[in-house]
């Protein structure tokens, strides 16, 4: 089975202190990591080919540094990777992205295309489905189990309140993968170094034969207007100082507000 997985490099933000610089997240102090859902998708694809043969190809769209996300996937066991890397792609909305991906993917002969349910940075959860639409493929979202069979794949979809639904799709098909579908393997530094020499196919706008108007912000119907950090809650007060002084201040506040009898 030939499987394509779309992957994306995203900033890790869970514990970080975020700052916004000119309407965008300041990436200076942030680490880029593989989008969590995509990681599950890669693992699932690699497991399928480990069990029953085939090939896993990876595809990402991003700048030069985003190649890391492909190397990581190769170290997990993917067989080949392509990198859509061109300034012309910047600012594309999901529909435009889907069009770009569709052009790149067409004729690849993939039986199955996997993407994460969504990306953790923008969370639109639509590129995958839109790509299925562009390619005219059947699709299923939020997969928590995949059972590939002859000519079809049976997908278990996660629904609300722990219910799930099983659907069968004829191949080729596109499935967006939910987190928790598996336990992705650890990727060691040694593993990444070992795939250092594998060539990654570079794809630019010209190679796709897409007109400039069909790419980037110019072609997009959605325009990002602003980005905002979570507002500081009403009444929140940040204390500063060493541990003892913090405790004293906290105790004083509690006492003052009647919290300590």
């Amino acid at each position: 089975m030939k499987i394509l997985v779309l992957v994306k490099n995203v900033p890790e933000v869970a514990e970080a202190e975020l700052e916004i610089d000119q309407g965008a997240l300041d990436l200076e102090d942030l680490e880029m990591v593989v989008n969590e859902w995509d990681n599950y998708a890669v693992e699932e694809a690699v497991r399928i080919t480990e069990a029953s043969g085939g090939e896993v190809h990876l595809l990402t769209l991003g700048n030069e540094d985003d190649e890391d996300v492909l190397r990581r996937g190769l170290a997990m066991g993917a067989h080949a990777a392509s990198h859509l890397c061109d300034e012309a792609f910047e600012g594309s909305d999901p529909a435009t992205l889907a069009r770009i991906f569709a052009t790149a993917v067409k004729g690849g002969g993939y039986d199955l295309i996997l993407t994460g349910v969504q990306s953790s940075d923008l969370g639109q959860a639509s590129t995958g489905v839109l790509l299925a639409q562009e390619l005219g493929l059947p699709h299923a979202t939020m997969a928590i189990a995949l059972e590939p069979g002859a000519g079809e794949v049976v997908v278990t979809r996660e629904l609300e309140n722990n219910t799930s639904e099983k659907v069968a799709l004829p191949l080729p098909a596109l499935v967006t993968v939910q987190s928790g579908i598996n336990q992705p393997r650890y990727v060691s530094i040694m593993g990444i170094r070992k795939v250092r020499k594998m060539t990654i196919e570079q794809i630019q706008a010209d190679d796709l034969g897409l007109a400039e108007e069909a790419l980037g912000a110019a072609a997009s119907m959605v325009d990002s207007q602003s980005l905002a950090l979570p507002p500081m809650g009403e009444g929140a007060q940040m204390l500063e100082g060493g541990l003892d002084s913090l405790c004293d201040q906290a105790a004083a506040i509690l006492r003052e507000k009647g919290g300590l009898a």
């Binding site: 336990q183 040694m190 070992k194 541990l243």
Partner: protein, 669 residues
């Protein structure tokens, strides 16, 4: 009549004996060949460097069994009798062969002394064997297992020895040579034969029984645990080997490959159980035993490397067994805290710390059997240079309000780099150590700086978890920072950073960085000795000191911390049951700080039970991991009203009157 030996006295069918002997020797040779070709592959996997361990010490360990005596007098005595009895008889047998086939020299006085000598060796062997069986079945030595071959082997050897005496007794009873009393045991036994004729009739039967049992033993020797007779001296000889470090370019699977030394360790282990007895993990009742791990590793090494398992009809079985073991790897790989207690007591230096690292390296390389919490830890280490928080630059927080030169930038020269370490700079409890130390250094006029928020992880955690590539990356990052400002004198808070920077970092530098690395307890001790630090604030307290494994066992530093404690006025130092080199691990090493393991026990609580028994009001340690583990156990184990936990650095600051600025010395005792 001239006393002399009578070979094959009255026994017919000597050809049959030769045939059986040839078969037995073939089995012996096959067994040895299997072992040697297996060991030889280890040499390929990791070359042996020249070694520096003093030969005298090795000989004493081998021929006097020094390390065995340490495990108890009965063990030492038993081994000594067996070893010398066996050796003597072996030499005697060789002499007989020489006498029979080459030059005849066993006659006259020589023969008489020779006979008497053999009697002594035989007696030693028999006594040793009786003691061995008694220790296992009658004496309370719980560390000994009672597996079938543990019993069969000594009984078999006993049959060999007793059979020899009976044969001799029969011959003496039948012929009554005038020199018979020289063979005093055989002579004594010869009285049991009613007549010379009875002895003559019984002789061939006894002879053949003895021959068959002996040849059977020879055939079994290399396949039994007595193979340690070959592997243990070699293992002891190789103990001084430098740490094996493989280049990053290692091919797939090589990181987990065992070197010659490791393969020898596997065969050197006699399953004596000393390691199990001291292993904090096994003792706390977690499902792990270093001895079982070695046994399993031996089986795996055999499956992987033994030429016998290449035989076509064993190949499938080999594959099946390897698969089964692989599935179970996880179960044993992550328990060890790398406390080194096992190696301390192992008579043959075989205990499995390195083996565990190899096992982990294999799992990390393969990827799917790394516990999720450890995966998260390793990823944090990789991306953020610390195992605690997914945030860059978290390492300088503790120093807020202190004016400490940042040596990652250019600036004035200082004498020392203070390497704070991940845990000490980030964990709120351990940060007290960093603040206390920087205050003490400043107070004593030590010129020092830190690497500020650029300080990398030293690589210890990655190393202990088997993430070799990450470790190398971190060592390179650290060295690049050191080289930038020619920093060679380093003080570490954590015994773990200390151990790694001191022992492992130099292996990765081509020029062999001339580093001078100190643990802070050494530095404080030095300052005190030089009179630059004077403890003038009495602390009328009864304290006990918990030796961190990486200070005491891994680096033999037990006196410096105690010297400091004794120098503090008013302090009374009492020792716990296990202390110094025998310290009991807090359970925080080997990556255990960062994940929960199935069947986990609270190792630190066991330690604090010992502390409580001393009646101390304060438990002092000198390691951020110990500090956190013990502090947690104090709360969860219900010791809160018994004693407080404090780090030596914090205590030193108090003894110097450097009042805790912001609550580091929570110990209010």
């Amino acid at each position: 009549m001239n006393p002399l030996r009578t070979p094959f006295w009255g026994v017919e069918w000597a050809w049959l004996f030769y045939l059986l002997a040839a078969l037995a020797l073939a089995a012996l040779a096959l067994g040895l060949w299997e072992k040697i070709s297996l060991w030889a592959q280890g040499r390929r996997a990791a070359p042996v460097a020249s070694h520096k361990h003093p030969l005298g010490a090795i000989l004493a360990d081998v021929f006097l069994g020094r390390r065995i005596w340490r495990g108890g007098a009965s063990a030492g005595l038993m081994h000594l009798m067996l070893l010398w009895g066996f050796l003597g008889l072996f030499i005697g047998t060789c002499a007989v062969a020489v006498d029979h086939y080459l030059v005849s020299f066993l006659q006259g006085k020589v023969y008489l002394w020779f006979s008497a000598g053999l009697e002594v060796c035989g007696l030693l062997l028999v006594l040793g064997l009786v003691l061995a069986v008694a220790r296992r079945w009658l004496l309370p030595v719980p560390r000994l297992e009672r597996r079938p071959d543990d019993t069969l082997l000594p009984l078999w050897l006993l049959a060999v020895a007793c059979g020899g005496f009976m044969v001799e007794a029969a011959r003496l009873a039948a012929t009554r040579p005038p020199w018979e009393a020289w063979s005093f045991l055989g002579y004594g036994l010869s009285g049991f034969f009613p007549s010379a004729q009875a002895a003559r009739d019984l002789f061939p039967w006894l002879w053949w029984a003895h021959a068959i049992i002996s040849l059977g033993f020879i055939a079994w020797l290399p396949w039994s645990k007595l193979a340690h007779a070959f592997a243990a001296p070699a293992s002891l000889y190789l103990q001084g080997q430098p740490l094996a470090v493989l280049a990053v370019a290692a091919e797939e699977g090589e990181l987990a490959a065992l070197g010659l030394r490791h393969l020898l360790h596997l065969d050197a282990c006699t399953r004596c159980g000393r390691c199990v007895e001291v292993c904090p993990v096994a003792q706390a009742g977690e499902p792990f035993s270093p001895r079982d791990l070695l046994r399993r590793a031996r089986r795996q090494a055999r499956l992987k490397y033994s030429p016998l398992y290449r035989l076509p009809w064993l190949r499938d079985r080999r594959q099946a067994l390897l698969e089964r073991d692989r599935a179970a790897d996880w179960d044993v790989a992550w328990y060890c805290t790398t406390c080194r207690a096992c190696l301390e007591v192992c008579p043959v230096q075989a205990a499995p710390i390195e083996m565990i690292r190899k096992l982990r390296a294999g799992l990390v390389e393969q990827g799917s059997a790394v516990p999720p919490q450890l995966m998260d830890t390793l990823e944090k280490l990789h991306r953020y240079g610390n195992p605690w928080v997914a945030k860059k630059g978290a390492k300088a927080g503790w120093a807020q309000g202190r004016d400490i030169p940042d040596l990652s930038k250019s600036g004035p020269e200082v004498d020392w780099l203070y390497f704070v370490g991940c845990t000490t700079s980030i964990d709120t409890r351990a940060q007290g150590m960093a603040r206390a130390l920087s205050d003490v250094f400043t107070h004593c006029g030590v010129s020092f700086g830190t690497l500020g928020k650029k300080e990398p992880c030293c690589g210890d955690i990655a190393r202990r978890l088997g993430e070799q590539g990450l470790m190398e990356e971190q060592i390179e990052t650290t060295q690049a920072l050191l080289n930038k400002r020619d920093l060679t004198r380093i003080i570490c808070t954590s015994p773990h950073c200390f151990d790694t920077i001191k022992k492992v970092h130099p292996l990765f530098s081509e020029e062999g960085l001339p580093l001078q690395v100190l643990h802070y307890s050494q530095m404080l001790h030095r300052l005190w000795q030089q009179g630059r630090m004077f403890f003038d604030h009495p602390l009328p307290l009864k304290v006990t000191y918990h030796d961190p494994c990486f200070l005491a066992r891994h680096n033999r530093l037990v006196d410096e911390p105690r010297g400091l404690l004794r120098a503090m006025p008013g302090l009374e130092l009492v020792e716990m049951a296990d202390h110094g080199l025998n310290s009991l691990c807090c359970g925080g090493g080997g990556g255990r700080m960062w994940h929960e393991i199935p069947g986990q026990a609270n190792l630190a609580v066991r330690r604090l039970e010992q502390a409580a028994a001393t009646g101390a009001e304060l438990v002092v340690t000198a390691c951020p991991l110990c500090l956190i583990m013990l502090e947690d156990a104090r709360k969860t184990g219900g010791f809160e009203d018994k004693f407080a936990i404090i780090d030596l650095s914090e205590l030193a600051a108090r003894a110097l009157g450097l009042a805790a600025k912001d609550g580091e010395a929570q110990a209010s005792a």
